[in-house]
Symmetry: C2
Subunit: 396 residues, 2 copies
């Protein structure tokens, strides 16, 4: 007799993006589909030196089991950096180190969600969060993401529904849209969240990758003094292969998250945490981030300029001031999914936007990644996409 | 208003053992409480060489995001080792690399368990499994673990109940008891499991650490040709700090587990997987395991001999042929929890057995770890425990 899976498995599916990425393993395809940092910018030699240092100074300890909370010196580094960069107060005891910030979403789902609980997400929303919260049978409410952040009237209406456990937001250079919350929208969100029993979850993997314009403090602790949880990650500022992220939150919530983390994987790699800490203390992270910003900023500029040159005027794009993605919107009647098949024939790939919507809308949208292609390939890829789009729109 | 946690959080608690381990951080205490491998035996220099090799040969790739399934060469190594060591056929495509084998339990819970589904575990049972499955609101049925494996009549009765999703078993040198399934019991379990829609989950982190006696193939694929899942780990044969485990299973089950893994942490550390693979191919793992077995075997012998010399005769122990733990049973009316407080005053620690029981029984049992203390401290610690036990029993 076949095994019966848990009910939660009926609502989650293999990621469509994952399938797309398989198609794009063909190196003749210029791919703007992935969400990968540029591996040429990984600080390989400095991480190697850090790893050797850790092996030599604390080999046995760095290979042993360790605490679920995470390596204290690493938590101290993160707390100090929040103070220095964002001007917010975070205690090392409020930080929980996780196996990538994706794990934060899993742990939050575990600790907070009963089947049918409501979760507010942005429209479009981060696919990894949709997947994680779907595992706990969340009922999603979406709020339109405008150029400067969420539509506050929609957010207020959503918050006024029953049993809304959390509002999950990516406030800087959002994946997939590239959009960022303005100072006004941050203040507006904080005002709406205040005093509610709905948690504000602020995910910020890209915030340090700002090429231009002014940076804002996070909503959590920058604008909202209670009831918020802030997520962070080393994946985009150092390297994703170590799987190191974290969560800022205190009190009973953190106790529950620690219990959930312990049941999930005991703790995050002792070795990875110690190597990252050594790397961060032996090097100046800001210098490294400058290099990333310079490269990604140029790639972003080349992509935006090429789009303006080669795309038909009917296609609208976001012009992000940082991060790794921009977002394109085709005329309403068109399907980016249909166009994807044509683009692949022209050896260029992107991610159709529909998976970022839980309501099957967004058919005419698509995501373009600019972090993982050099300028030459960006120009060539955008040229191919532009030619294809002209045809596609003309035939529509 | 305070945040309302998910219902599942009401049934799980911070691990009692975790609290105990904090007490034993005091280095004046001789601790048999932990479940730690001996860090003196970690192959620090060889892992360092492997890490340097990985940085130099494939730095950028080893720091990038990677597939959820895990690094193919590592999966190939594991599959080949099963064939060589256990004589069972496993395809690399049936292996899913996890963030420690603890994560296997989380993923299995996620994929299989609805609230109230039944899970059969051994009595006493592995605490990490109790914690993971409790997160998914499992209803536990326990089967007595005898000297040679589970009581088969109890197992059959348990399997005949409704909605039994899985039977979770640690077949070699079980944590906490140190007990191992005999060939007869393995065959008996396989016979009982065959043709049912209950999954057999076989966890085997300690199987390679056999000091004496004859090794048996795993139940899964050794005795049971369908419906079984086999878990493994590098934590006890190499080092736990990398958090590397795996699961053997094929078909739709593996597809679902991959979806769950992706939602949980995207994938296990690319770097850790590549370093472990490099270590395994540049070195002979069996040579390293021999060293561990020699040391743990001696420590086990010293512990058993010291117990025979210093413990009152009323205390019964298991005499494991491998692994890291042995199990002691006090006269029935006594509480190992009460004795724990006295032992700490005498600067020696162990884990009271009660947390390994889901039915509040086992009050008179306790677990002793012999892998993480040298022979001298084992003799001294057992001497202190024995003296304390004589007093404790005399006063009872």
């Amino acid at each position: 007799m076949p095994v019966k899976f848990a009910d939660r498995m009926s609502t989650v599916h293999r990621s469509f993006i994952r399938e797309i990425l398989k198609v794009t393993e063909d190196t003749s395809i210029i791919s703007f589909a992935g969400g990968l940092p540029n591996p040429e910018l990984f600080p390989v030699a400095d991480l190697e030196a850090a790893a050797v240092g850790v092996f030599q100074d604390s080999g046995p300890q760095s290979l042993q089991y360790s605490t679920t909370e995470g390596y204290l010196p690493l938590r101290e580094y993160i707390a100090a950096r929040y103070k220095e960069k964002k001007g917010i107060d975070v205690s090392p005891d409020e930080i929980l180190i996780t196996s990538g910030s994706q794990q934060c979403l899993d742990l939050l789902g575990k600790v907070l969600l009963n089947a049918g609980d409501k979760v507010i997400i942005e429209r479009p929303g981060y696919l990894g969060a949709i997947q994680s919260f779907s595992m706990f049978q969340a009922d999603f409410i979406t709020v339109d993401l405008e150029a400067d952040g969420p539509n506050l009237a929609e957010l207020e209406a959503a918050l006024n529904q029953d049993k809304v456990k959390m509002f999950y937001a990516v406030t800087n250079f959002q994946n997939p849209s590239g959009l960022t919350y303005s100072a006004e929208k941050r203040a507006g969100v904080a005002k709406l969240m205040k005093g509610r029993d709905t948690l504000f979850i602020e995910d910020d993997p890209y915030g340090e990758l700002r090429f231009r314009g002014e940076s804002h403090p996070p909503v959590v602790r920058g604008y909202l003094d209670e009831g918020g949880i802030l997520l962070g990650s080393f994946s985009k500022v150092a390297a994703p292969g170590f799987r190191l992220g974290w969560m800022v939150c205190g009190g009973e919530m953190r106790d529950k998250l620690i219990i959930a983390k312990q049941a999930s994987d005991l703790h995050t790699s002792t070795f990875a945490q110690r190597v990252m800490h050594r790397y961060l203390t032996d090097n100046v992270l800001d210098d490294h981030i400058e290099k990333i910003k310079e490269r990604y900023g140029k790639q972003r500029d080349v992509m935006v300029e090429s789009i303006k040159k080669y795309f038909p005027a009917e296609v609208k794009i976001t012009e992000p001031e940082g991060g790794m993605f921009l977002w394109a919107t085709l005329p309403e009647s068109l399907s980016a999914m249909d166009f994807f098949d044509e683009a692949i024939k022209n050896k260029v790939a992107f991610v159709p936007g529909r998976p970022f919507y839980v309501d099957d809308s967004g058919e005419n949208t698509l995501r373009l990644n600019f972090s993982n292609s050099d300028e030459e390939r960006i120009v060539e890829g955008i040229k191919r996409l532009g030619a294809g789009l002209k045809d596609f729109i003309a035939r529509a």
